[in-house]
Amino acid sequence: MTKLTPADFSSNLPIKWCPGCGNYAIITAVKRVMAELEIEHEKYVVVSGIGCSSRFPYYVNVYGYHTIHGRAIAVATGVKLSNPELMVFVVTGDGDALSIGGNHLIHGIRRNIGLKVLMFNNRIYALTKGQASPTTLFGAKTKTTPQGNFDYPFNPVSLAINLGAPFVARSIDSDINLTSSVIFEAAKNEGFAFVEILQKCVVFTDKEFDVFKNIDTKDDFVVRIENNKPMIFGKNKNKAIVLKGFTPVVVEFDPSNPPSDLTIYDSSNIHMASIISSLMPPEFPLPVGILYKINKKSYEKIFYENVGEDTGSIESILKDNSYEIK
């Protein structure tokens, strides 16, 4: 097949996200992955729900379906199950996936349908202009929480890992390289993949993720998780998360002489992934990268392996229970 480039995935429609929206960086990363995956252009399908993120299908020129609020995973399940050779991305947001679409998310993960779910998390309902979402932080002021949010937020990656998704990763919109590398790996892994991408909303959560991005703070507030490596972070690479039994702690050390017993991350270890994915600032840096990755047979694969080649005509199905009237 001919080599595709990111430009081959641009649609001719004007993008209507706000100037400065984190989604621009994410779409760049997605187009890059689509070009790299060596899948025929016509086999890509992008399904979305409702929200700013869910306008995504209009801006890539593959088969796209902009559905209704919360139902992207449900619609995409029908696409993927009916034709497993399609590469089906679901683009959704924190409100769409975790609130109104929560049931489809948990069941999509449970049955391990082979969807690649990209959840743009801006911690707000942006399209409806600023209501608290299931990831809005406790105490945060929004239009619906003028006294501060009374609700505890979900930690999306922690939720996905503990529900049994075989691939879970987190990235930040500004880090296009990280975003594209985790989406690439998500696409390559069989079964359900869940990628949370922190995405700033310039109108409602403009400063929300600054600590993870600013040169001065990001190294202390973000830890890049990599398989078979210690979880080192800090401006001077002088800190690491280690597990003392089941308890994660931050240790400091002299970077020129790191301790030999730093915990090595095993991205196939559900218990480790469960603990590390649950960490949040300010006690811990925010873990990003591939947090969990295992082989797990997909629902569609199990379905097609266990059903017959062809159902046949009803004449043949009912042959044994039919009778003839002459």
Binding site: Y63, S82, N83, T311
Partner: protein, 617 residues
């Protein structure tokens, strides 16, 4: 105990055009099984038949209790059989509770066949009897045949290694054997079925068969059985038949339609009474070409089906009232996306959870109007169990031809009832028509066929047709998002007009009753059997009356206005609070619509329709 003596005796043979038998017993007694076996035997003998199960909502109500009575009714005979009938001519009861519950379905002079072995003091008490009705003379208006099936079964199986409880479980087959003798039906078919069903438990199979034949022989040799009944056969078109429930017919129709269309079949559903059997039937038949998906909820069920339709499958979902409520938003998506989709609604008593196992026709309004925005869909209604096959096939054909969702209304009554279906050969069925797909460079997602106004069905991974659709209003032809006010008017008009054009598919409306009359009985869907048989009976009694039963509910048949204008009085008969009457009054202002309704969880009977007709005399 009367064992009977082997000798020649006089047996009275009565010939009947058709008859109705009602089986009743504890929900654990295997009543549905016996009923279905009996139905198969009549079918194989060439009778026309129609059956209806009647079982409690609870899985296992307390044994012997009134609430735990399970029933199964069958009408069989010649061509006049159009529904399972109302009153039974024969009532077969396995215990006192079954008698208590079902006596109301009997006219005086009818026959009761009772398993007296279960009329114990304890069971009588549970059913609320203070004395044994089989002995106290209270049934003197009926002909009662009491047989102690329990003892006879124990005796028959005296040498069997089975436990007492296992032996007693075979008693329904004894009863079946008796009935096969009475109605001169073949025993061997059921014996073969037992062999297959219990292939892994040969000792159970052996016992059941032994008891079945023992029942037959007991009737043959016992003086209390002095009458046999010969029931007329139907005038059936030659062919291969299968006794089919409405729910099974839905599944077979969709599979057949997908084969005819040469696309995969996709069925996404969520368990709900009384539609679950569609999903069960599909699940058994899943293959690479028939994708069956049990979703996490009703919304996911329809959404996954819409996704499969987007991916090019012949797609369907099935549910009952509460599920249809949940699916309405997604139906709107299918309407604006203009994707083919068949939605089966097996109507049950509503609102809310309502009467989950009982029949009703009260989802007409939600089917026609139950979506936000101007959101027309095609709505069809099936007449009978076997007609579910043809109506659903037609729904699939229309859905594809017009790129639209089609709702098919069946009901608990016809979904669970059964009837022989002559299995059509695939080449007999109408072909599918698909809107022409232009070459990739000429393709636009909302480019329309001039005749049907339908858009082309391009789906992944067809090369060169990559496009985007969605729930936002679409720009005419181009398919991009459009907020333009005039465009919304254009698209609303097109969506309305497209559904209107489905009227081109509607055949001339059939009018029952050949003599002209001023009175029309009009129904829709599952009241077909009751209405048509009432019209036939009226004609026999020289009463002029006409009948129409609608299958196409949206759009309505183009000739309906003319037809209605010819009648002074139009009785609209339906199992709801007057929904079709409302629709007809809105559409045909000069028609004199008289609404006749029934909402008791039970279908309209022929007798009730006759009463309406006779009120006109």
């Amino acid at each position: 105990m009367n064992k009977g003596k082997k000798r020649k005796r006089d047996i009275d043979i009565s010939i009947k055009e058709y008859t109705v038998i009602r089986f009743a017993g504890d929900s654990g007694d295997g009543i549905q099984l016996v009923g279905n076996q009996f139905a198969n035997a009549t079918a194989i003998s060439g009778n026309v038949l129609s059956t209806l199960p009647d079982y409690p909502a609870e899985i296992r109500a307390p044994q012997g209790s009134i609430g735990g009575v399970s029933g199964f009714q069958i009408a069989f005979g010649d061509d006049k059989v159009m529904n399972p009938g109302n009153k039974a001519d024969f009532l077969v009861v396995m215990n006192p509770a079954a008698l208590k519950v079902n006596l109301k379905y009997l006219d005086k002079g009818s026959v009761i066949i009772a398993n007296s072995g279960n009329f114990t003091e304890e069971n009588l008490k549970k059913a609320g009897y203070t004395s044994n009705p089989l002995e106290d003379g209270s049934l003197s208006n009926y002909r009662v045949i009491s047989v102690d099936v329990n003892s006879l079964v124990e005796e028959t199986l005296s040498e069997s290694p089975l436990t007492k409880a296992e032996k007693l479980k075979t008693k329904n087959f004894f009863m079946l054997g008796l009935l096969y003798w009475m109605f001169d039906l073949p025993v061997d078919i059921t014996a073969q079925w037992i062999d297959k069903k219990f292939a892994k438990k040969p000792e159970i199979a052996e016992a059941n068969k032994k008891v079945l034949y023992a029942g037959y022989n007991y009737a043959e040799n016992t003086e209390i059985f002095d009458a046999k009944y010969k029931i007329e056969k139907g005038n059936l078109e030659p062919g291969i038949y299968h006794n089919i429930t409405g729910n099974e017919a839905v599944c077979y129709a969709l599979i057949t339609a997908s084969r005819k269309l040469k696309r995969k079949c996709y069925y996404g559903s969520y368990p709900i009474t009384p539609a679950s059997e569609i999903l069960h039937t599909f699940s058994k038949l899943a293959s690479k070409n028939v994708v069956v998906f049990q979703a996490e909820d009703e919304i996911a069920a329809i959404c996954s089906s819409i996704g499969a339709s987007f991916a090019g499958c012949l797609s369907a979902t099935g549910t009952s009232g509460p599920g249809l409520s949940l699916k309405t938003e997604a139906l709107g998506l299918a309407v604006i996306s203009e994707l083919p989709l068949v939605v089966i609604d097996v109507q049950r008593g509503g609102p809310s959870t309502g009467l989950p196992t009982k029949t009703e026709q009260s989802d007409l309004f939600i089917s026609l109007f139950g979506r936000h925005g101007d959101c027309p869909v095609v709505v069809l209604a099936a007449f009978s169990p076997s007609d579910c096959f043809y109506t659903v096939y037609e729904a699939a054909r229309i859905a594809v031809k017009y790129m639209t969702p089609v709702i098919v209304l069946t009901s608990a009554y016809i979904a669970q009832g059964s009837q022989p279906l002559r299995i059509p050969r695939e080449e007999e069925l109408k072909d599918f028509e698909i809107t022409n797909l232009p070459l990739p460079h000429e393709f636009k997602p909302y480019l329309r066929d001039e005749k049907t106004l339908s858009r082309p069905w391009a789906y992944p991974p067809l090369k060169g047709y990559q496009h985007r659709i969605g729930g936002l209003e679409k720009l005419h032809i181009e398919g991009n998002i459009s907020y333009d006010p005039e465009n919304h008017q254009i698209m609303t008009n097109l969506r309305r007009e497209k559904i209107k054009r489905v009227s081109l598919e509607i055949p001339p409306t059939e009018i029952y009753g050949d003599r002209k009359s001023d009175i029309l009985i009009l129904g829709w869907g599952s009241t077909y059997g009751a209405i048509k048989s009432a019209i036939i009976e009226s004609i026999k009694e020289n009463i002029a009356v006409n009948g129409v039963v609608l299958k196409y509910l949206n759009p309505l048949p183009p000739d309906l206005g003319d037809i209605l204008s010819k009648y002074k009085k139009i009785y609209v008969v339906e199992e709801n609070d007057g929904q079709m009457a409302f629709v007809l009054r809105a559409n045909y202002k000069n028609a004199n619509i008289i609404s006749k309704t029934k909402v008791c969880g039970q279908p309209y009977t022929k007798e009730e329709i006759l009463k309406i007709i006779q009120s006109e005399k």
